[in-house]
Every structure is written in C-alpha cells, then in structure tokens.
Symmetry: C2
Subunit: 205 residues, 2 copies
C-alpha cells in the first residue's frame, strides 16, 4: 500500500470535520484548487486538555516559519505532530480561527458566518472539547507576513493546486480540520480542502 492509495476525503467550502489520527499515522492536507486555507487543531485523545500550542512551538522550534522538519508541540511540552513534507512552505500559527466575532469586526457589511471557529466547535463537541478549549490553530497554507515593525497582513495564500503538507502523529490524536470561511485568508474564493490518512508506518514507506 502506498500513500496515494489512501482514501481522499473532501471538506466542502466553509465547513469543518474532526477525526481520529492514530499514533504513527500521517495526515496529508491538500489544497486541491490552490489559494485556500485549512485550520488544523490537534488534541491528545487520551486527555483532550492537551492541545497544540503556538507559544510552546515557537519556543522549542525557535521560529514562526514552520515547515518540513519542524514539530508542533503541546501545552504540556510534548510533540504531537511533526511536518514530514511541505510543498507550500508557508503556513500560519499566529492567528485564531475566524468566527462570528471576527466576521462582525472585519467584514461588517457582509453576512456573519460562524467561521472555522464555529465549524471546529461543532465537529469537536463529540470528543468533549468545548469552545473555550479551541486555541490558535495551525493554519495550513495561510499567508501572514510579519513586517519589520511587527505589523502583520493577511494575504491570499500562495499555494498552488495540489500543494500539500504531511504531518506525522506522535500520539493518538483528535484532529479538527477546516476549509476556511474568511474572505481575507483565501482571496474571497471559498474552496474545498482535501485530506487523507496514511496508516503506513514511517519505516515501511
């Protein structure tokens, strides 16, 4: 069995899903059409109070620019995921998922959408994860340049059709994953996200 034989799942535009990712498996997140963002959360299945932490990750990895070879650390200082492949090379771990509140704030003239935050909250509820337990997501393909004065922008992703990132689970995880709902992060073109789970162990690849 090779990686490409795993079943590909499609996340419809402006929706989100949650699923189990067992220890040792790889999650492949694909931007099928390009220029789309996918918010990713990872919780330890054994105790969902343990979750990825941007602050712990920035500290241990000594960078805000996370790509192949970097690891995503939890609030309990354990590695939950490591990045094994990355054809995009640009992701964000600074910003929280878009929500009703961010829609009201940034797009006051547009319809309010529950956003990635609402989609993640609904998808993760069956695992006993409450809204307040949703931290900053690892935002695959999101383009957030940091300027010399510390100011930031949210620009359309530079990802091309088929760009993907492969993340290996270091623990049994609950994953939340979205096709982003916000205007700024995907250039106003709401698109799907694809993913697949490769259960093949690293040693057999």
């Amino acid at each position: 069995m090779n990686r490409n034989s795993a079943q590909t799942h499609r996340i419809a535009p402006r929706t989100g899903v949650a699923f189990r990712l067992p220890k040792g498996a790889a999650l492949v997140v694909v931007d099928p059409e390009g220029t789309q963002v996918s918010d990713l959360l990872a919780f330890a299945e054994a105790d969902v109070r343990e979750v990825i932490s941007n602050g712990r990750t920035f500290d241990y990895e000594q960078t805000l620019s996370l790509t192949t070879g970097n690891r995503l650390w939890s609030n309990r200082s354990r590695v939950l995921l490591s990045i094994e492949e990355d054809t995009a090379g640009q992701h964000d771990f600074l910003l929280t998922p878009c929500s009703k509140d961010t829609f009201r704030h940034f797009y006051p003239d547009k319809p309010v959408h529950r956003g990635c935050f609402g989609n993640l909250a609904e998808a993760l509820a069956p695992w006993g994860i409450a809204e307040d337990q949703i931290p900053v997501a690892f935002n695959c393909f999101m383009n957030v340049p940091v300027h010399a004065d510390g100011s930031i922008d949210v620009l359309p992703p530079a990802s091309k059709p088929g760009d993907h990132i492969v993340l290996r689970a270091h623990e049994d995880l609950v994953i939340g994953l979205t096709a982003c709902s916000a205007y700024a992060s995907n250039g106003g073109a709401f698109k799907p996200i694809d993913y697949r789970i490769d259960l093949q162990s690293e040693g057999n690849s």
Copy 2:
C-alpha cells in the same frame, strides 16, 4: 489621590503572584532594576475560562508589537486590558511561560526550576484555574526579535530601571504576574518586579 500614591508591591526574584484587578482600575508593572521580564496573565473573574489570547490579539490589533494604544483581547473576542502607557516599548506575546520542561530543554546543565509556569499555576489555583488553562502570557519587557526568515531569538530585555507599562482593566479580572525565572529572558540576573494598582478611574486622572 494620584497614581504614585498607590501601594507598590514587590514580586521577589523567580516568584509569582495573583490578585484581583477590578474593572476600570489600572495595573502598573515596573521593572525596578531594568533588564527583567514579567509574565502577565489576565482571566475574566466572572468566568475564568475566558483569558487573554495572543492569536485574537494579533488578529484584531494587526501587529505583534503591542504598546500604548493596543488592547489585549480574550479567547471570546472581548478586550480585557488596554495599554495606556509604556516607557519600554518592547514586550512579547509569542512565547509560553518558562517551566520545568523548558528548563530541561534549554538549560540541561542547570538546576530545574518550576519557572513562571509553576509560579503562575500555584498563584492562580485558588481561583480554580488549572495548569492546562495557562496560555501564552503577555511577557512585559521581554525581547524576542523576529527575523525576516521567521526565526526568533530570546535576548536580554532593553528595559531600563523604572521602565513601566500601565494596563487598564475593561472587565473584573484575575491577574497572574511574575518576576521571570529563565536565564535567557533576563540575561541570567534574576531580579524582582514591582507593581501597583491604581483604582482611580480614567476620567479623574
């Protein structure tokens, strides 16, 4: 009553405290000797599951460089604190508090200390705040340059003796505050932090 008449409290080196900060009051955090960091957390007293969020703050303030005029937002998209004065002009909201784990990771040849994380956890426990609820702190005076490639450094603070930051409470808050315990953040010289609470309302100042 002017601001300087408020009682000054001293946080001993490598310790931390927690206290109530009522809505409308100002918290003045002072680096009395210079080149020291103070990790600051703020929780909504009415429901401590609401807490300052670096991701929400970066999103709404559109910058990583927070100073006079900027606001610290909660995970529920509400302003908990606003920065009214800032003589230092350099703080960090990227990194989590130092902990036993970060001591083992970054200083393997030095004695393990529970760090700001352990000090905050003990001080906040009486309010029913658990370790897993401690997010990225607003690290007053901490010097974390972000380079063009996204890499970061932790350098000694540039703060001078007497530098201070004044934060106004927008809700009734529980504050956690430390005199930092880590080697890198304060140049290896563990120093105290001073603070005072100015109950005077903004309109009467």
